[in-house]
Each structure stands twice: as C-alpha cells, then as structure tokens.
Symmetry: none
Subunit: 250 residues, 2 copies
C-alpha cells in the first residue's frame, strides 16, 4: 500500500503521493515517470491501480502519457494553483492601469447611449458612497466593470473581473485597500467624470488617458497609505519601476 490516508480509493493515495513528489522537484518537467510496472513494485500496488493514479494526474493535466514510451511531466502541481495569492495592491493597480486603460479605449468605440446612461448613474453613486463613512466601494467596482462590458468583448470583461477578484483573493492587497479607504482616500469623482466624458465623446485616446490618470492617482493613494516598514520596500520598488517605465515610454 502507499503511505497516505488509507481510506477508500487506493489510487487516490497513490496519486497524492505522486503529486507530492512532483511538487518536491523529483520528476522535473519533461522528465519521464517510472514505468507503470516499476511504480507498482515501488508502491506495492497492482498495475491497474497505478494506471488509475496516472490517469488521475493525466486528467489534471499534470502528465502526458505516450503509448509505448511513458508518462511525461507536463506541468507542476500548484503551477496554476494560486498564482494570484501574493499579488500586492501595487501590482494589481499597475495591471489595472495597463489593462483598463486599453479597455476604456476600446469601449469608447463601442459604447451606446444606454451604456453612457448607466455609467453616468454609477458616477453619481460613487459620489454618494463617498459621503457615507460606512459605505462600501461597490459603485466604484461597478463603474469599472460597466466600462469593461461596454467593450462588447467577454474576454476583456472577464479578465478585468478577474483582476478585481484578485483584490479580495490576495490578503495583502485586501489589507492595503482597506487601509487606504480608512485613510479617507476615496475614489475621486472628477477622475471618473473625466473617463465618462471621454466615453461620451467616443474618444478612445482620451478615454485611455483619463483611465490611466485615474489609476495613477489610485496608485499614488496606495503609496501614500503605505507606512509600514514591511511595505516600504515594495513601495520603493514600485516607484522605481514606474519611473523607469514612464521614462522609457515617454
């Protein structure tokens, strides 16, 4: 028998063991797993059981089985597991600056009057939420997602939703955003209005600029809210990085 918990389904124990070994660096990507018969011997199980475990890995996309040749490591476990877990608020906002800027530009060429009306309403709601000390920032999120939807591109919308979701997925990002809000750093209505006006004018370049300006300001706000020593390094790195980027693209 393998080693893991011996309850039910032996193949699962074996699969777990193999995945464990994979993530420990034995069997790097591209290498071949031992032959089914060898694995059966090594783990003292029958070959059918080994086959079942290997199939479990195959279905998860971890290995690729080639007839007559062997099972080859295709991807390491955890390679996709949570690559967004440690995203910092800075990275997140930087990504939004890049992506939402382009999304706004595309949206400016695709919006209709209904979209404009909806976005206008959301700007109003952002203003209202700013008054309320206990208010959330849901209107802000809705504003950005409405623009993403206005691109008429589900993939664009989807990716931007993904970014917003990372905000709550990543503990660090979540924390810093809360800190910023607590410090009275709130969505500036003027910045949102500028984006709205650019969309209304169907001017993609203006929309891109306005959105970038807005998110630059958000980034500044985050930097301002950062005082902990733990984050000081990240802050400095981000500033240097941004300056380098700004110089190079100027």
């Amino acid at each position: 028998m393998a080693n893991g918990k011996s309850n039910d389904r032996l193949y699962q124990d074996l699969a777990r063991s193999l995945i464990e070994e994979l993530s420990q660096g034995r069997y790097p990507i591209g290498t071949r797993l031992p032959a089914e018969r060898d694995l059966a011997l090594r783990y003292d199980v029958s070959r059918p059981t080994v086959r079942e475990a290997v199939i479990a890995l195959e279905v998860q996309g971890l290995v690729e089985v080639r007839l007559g040749s062997g099972a080859y490591v295709k991807r390491l476990p955890g390679d996709e597991d949570r690559p967004g877990f440690n995203v910092t608020a800075f990275e997140l906002t930087e990504a939004r600056l890049l992506f939402e800027g382009e999304a706004a530009a595309l949206a400016a060429t695709q919006v209709n009057d209904a979209d404009i009306a909806e976005i206008e309403l959301l700007v109003q709601r952002i203003a209202e939420e700013n008054q309320d000390p206990n208010g959330t920032e849901s209107a802000d999120r809705e504003f950005h997602l409405a623009i993403a939807r206005a691109t008429r591109n589900v993939a664009v919308y989807n990716a931007i939703v993904h970014l917003w979701d990372l905000r709550s997925t990543s503990p660090e990002a979540k924390l810093l955003h809360e800190k910023a809000r607590h410090a009275q750093i709130k969505p500036v209505v003027e910045e949102h209005t500028a984006v709205l006006e650019a969309l209304r004018a169907r001017d993609p370049n203006a929309a891109r600029s306005a959105m970038r300006a807005h998110l630059s300001a958000v980034l500044e706000g985050l930097l301002f809210a950062t005082e902990e020593r733990a984050l000081a390094e990240a802050r400095k790195a981000t500033q240097v990085k941004r300056e380098r980027y700004a110089r190079a693209t100027a």
Copy 2:
C-alpha cells in the same frame, strides 16, 4: 468499443461518451450511473476501462463514487463556474492584443538577460514545433507567458494566464483554434522574433507594436480560417469593430 474518435486511450472515448450523455440530461444530478459491470457490457469494453473512465469523471468532479453503492452524478458538465464559456476566439484574441501589447511594453522595461535567453529559446522551439505536423503549440503559450512573467507583475501574469485558459475553456474558441492550426495557420516565427528584438532593445513602444502586430496577424488568421456560415456573422462583426477601433485610434 465506444463511439468517439478511436485514437489512443479507450477510457477517454468512454469518458467523452459519458460526459456527452450527462450533458444530454440522461443521468440527472443525484442519480446513479449504471454499475461498472453494466457499463462494460453496454459499451463493450472491459471493467478496468470503465473504472478508468469513471475515475476521469471523478477527478473532474462530475461524479462521486461510493463504495458498494455506485457512482452518483454530482455536477453537470458545463454547469461549472465558467463565465468565459462563450468567449469567441475573436474576442479572446482581441483581448490579448490589447493586454499583451501593454504587458510587452512593461516587460521591455523590466526584462533581464536571463528572461531574454529563455524567450529566445522559446522562439526556437516555436520554429521546431511548426515543422512537426502533429506538434502542439505549447511553445507559443510559453513564449507569451514568459513575457508576461517578465513584467515582474504577478497580476499581469495572472490575467494573461487567465486569457490563455479561456482558450481551452470555451468550446467555440478551442474549435476555431484547432481549425486554424489544421489549416496550416501556425505561429509565425518572424513575428515572435520581432517581439524578442524589441525586448532585447528594452524598447517598450517597439515591444507593444510588435506584439500588437503579431496578434493582429493571428486575428487575420482566425478570420481566414472562418468559413462556416455560423461563424460568418461573428467574423463580420469583428471586422467592423476592428475597423472602427482602428480609425478612431489612428
């Protein structure tokens, strides 16, 4: 034998057939699948093969197997959390054009020599894969992800991985990409090389342009591969949209 493509891995054919039946409403959620021995008889395969197929469903979370009782339907295929299920290949590529262009620009300001070397190697691998008629396009994916990583921004990387994953999640996108590859529309090495050179020169604007040019070409390839009436509409809409966007941002 089952019915599906009879290539390799009988269990996969059977798994496909079962998934097909699941999504057709036979075996609703909570019901029990026929016993392994019965399925073996019905599909004229051996019981081990049936077990392998059921395990494939189990790993995908479609069924739950209870010892001594049977395999019960847990979730329907496509019931999954997939807000990107209906993304078209056009939308996907358009999104990549916008986002990966910016990512390339950022990457150009952040790459180091090791990144360059890695990417160079991947361009080579793309060339090799193009020679192989049965080759996959994994090097292409790796190329784009390596650039995303070179941004030194996990959020950017994450979002771009997300887009690539949509490609396999969305049946329509997957289909069209396969069709395109079948039509000998393969990653053009020159386009990738141009991106590489821009990165080597640390020139963000050139990197953005090269990446956009590359993905524009991919989009053209997809349009070219589209002949079905069913897709004609999407094709036309995409063209009109792109032209409008191009005019407006010119």
